[in-house]
Symmetry: C2
Subunit: 156 residues, 2 copies
Amino acid sequence: MASILNLDKLDLSIVQQLMHDANVSYAEIGKKLFVSAGTVHVRIKKMQEAGIISGMNYRVDLKKLGYDVIAFIGIYLEKSSLYDVVAKDLKKIPEIVRMNYTTGNYSIFAEIVCKDIVQLRYVLHDELQKIKGIERTETFISLEESLNRSVKVAAS
Amino acid sequence: MASILNLDKLDLSIVQQLMHDANVSYAEIGKKLFVSAGTVHVRIKKMQEAGIISGMNYRVDLKKLGYDVIAFIGIYLEKSSLYDVVAKDLKKIPEIVRMNYTTGNYSIFAEIVCKDIVQLRYVLHDELQKIKGIERTETFISLEESLNRSVKVAAS
DNA sequence: ATTGAAAGAGTCTCAGT
DNA sequence: ACTGAGACTCTTTCAAT
């Protein structure tokens, strides 16, 4: 699974730029890194073909779209071997946006985005409790997101 | 904080498209939604000015860049009033990519991205334990990320 | 508010080094 | 492997409706 492709400093610096802002032009990136726009293009294409970079997403302010509640859910399973079947059911709930199979207290760690507390309560109580294999859940409602960034892979 | 701007179905459908793939052209989006590329442009501009949409990020495969370990950290504070000062210190650690102030057991819920377990151990033991105000932490290492998507804001 | 066309900017290709 | 120029595509502006 490790990187087969040898990435040099230039590659990493380009990824760093793109992670921070995907809107900067190849010419601008090149100017900062003292290479031509063509070279930047070749490197990006290479990394896209290797699956290192895969596409772009807009940053969306969910609160402004009316999604005011972000919460994290720690899920205890009856048996951890039930992971696959429970995960499959959880994926059907559109409010659940992320799921990780984790070590520690919880078997599954999920993130959920809801319009309001009423909707959160509905998903937790009516949808989650129906899923077979879930023993119990613990919910952590985010009161404030004070950081959301990408890991630093190279000097910016 | 709620959306002052009245967003209609067209706006939401456009956001939905862009959240899924920021690379589709305005013409393509328009074709799907039966409007011109110009209209798509106007709507996107309006939403950018309103801060609903703010910029683009490339999706990056962190594992292929050598970052194999994603973990979640539940942090207990000595007093929850220490949140601001602890948060400030945590932000200085580049491996920490996300932080939420939460209800429930933990005061702070953080996400961390490391190259390997050695680096994770270093951050947890040497860096985190040095921060004043942290009582103790619980770590959940992700063994598998089985879902990572955006919330559905409109019919796709 | 939406459209269609023209102008501007960026990406992509390729021959040359 | 990098460069620079030309071809191409997309974004952006704008006059008309």
